[in-house]
Amino acid sequence: MKKIWTLLIMLMIFISISSLAIADEVEEDNDDEEEFGEENEGENETEDLDIDNKTVEEIKIMNNSLGAEIRLLQLQKAIVKNLLKGEMAVEVLKGLGYNTTTLEAILSEMKNLLEEVKAVNTSSNDSVQIFVEFKSQAKNLTKQFRETIKEILDGEKLREIRERIREMISEELENYSKMIRNKIKQFNRNQLYKLYGIIGEVNNSFVEKYLNGNVSLAQVKLQISKTINQMNKEKKYEIFSEIKKGNIKKKIHAQASMDDMKNKGKGKGNGKGK
């Protein structure tokens, strides 16, 4: 009888250990998944520190020349806007009798940068890298100007100048806005045709209406969403997967460009000091 009990207890221990081993294995799997998630989160944080997310978003469309053209035009517009504001501020300061040599030197650098941005070949393979570099330079020059003017003027006078600049209207900026809007419309038209290609039906009159401004982009998006949502589950899933695949490809392309720049050591310093 003693033997039976010993055997029974031994087997009970054996079963308990096996159950624990299985439970531990499952837990380890979960831990691994969690760790992997945390690692990825950590990586994203590091990415955020080196390259701002907005720039990564911006370069997502630069895998074709039209996308690159749009981003470079938008950068030109941003530089022109700051140049005009800077020139206005310098004029005001001159009127008040301040020395503006440093500020004018920064504006001169900004003008040179604008010319360089204008000269970029949008079909070039390096357009993404050039865009990131020039955007970074523009940000640095803006920061330099802002900090220099802060040293010259007190808070109240700065507020005064800020108010005057805010009311600024420029024909040059208006022209940029029109040009960019037209390019974006062309880009969105191409995207719309791509989506129609995935869905398997084309609505030419709707595209025309969008290009003529009779239908807004929000309405275009809504119409496409409705068309997809009305489909049966399988078809909806198929189309959704195709669209998602395209968007993921763009993200991978953007990330690859960023990684490439980092490897070359040129991506560093974006949004930071020179």
Binding site: K3, I4, L7, L8, L11, M12, F14, I15, S18, S19, I22, V26, K54, E58, I61, R71, Q74, L75, K77, A78, I79, N82, K85, G86, A89, K135, A138, K139, T142, K143, F145, R146, I149, L158, I161, R162, I165, R181, I184, F187, N188, Q191, L192, K194, L195, L217, V220, K221, I224, S225, I228, N229, K236, Y237, F240, I243, K244, G246, N247, K250
Partner: protein
């Protein structure tokens, strides 16, 4: 005496097998459930998000900071 030991031994072996099989199928079932739910969760918002990602807003601007 020996017969009793063997019976208990087999009983416990069966118990152990049931525990292992249950654990295995339970895990497979959970994995399948997770996979199925990923397909089921495509709703109108998911579609809208992907469509939003496809287009560019017409008034979108690049920010390089303020001069003053």
């Amino acid at each position: 005496m020996n017969k009793k030991i063997i019976s208990i031994f087999f009983l416990l072996i069966i118990l152990l097998s049931i525990t292992l099989i249950y654990n295995f199928y339970d895990k497979v079932g959970t994995d399948e459930k997770q996979y199925d739910s990923s397909i089921e969760t495509i709703d109108e918002n998911n579609v809208s998000e992907e469509i939003d990602d496809t287009f560019i807003e017409e008034d979108e601007e690049i920010e390089i900071g303020e001069m003053v």
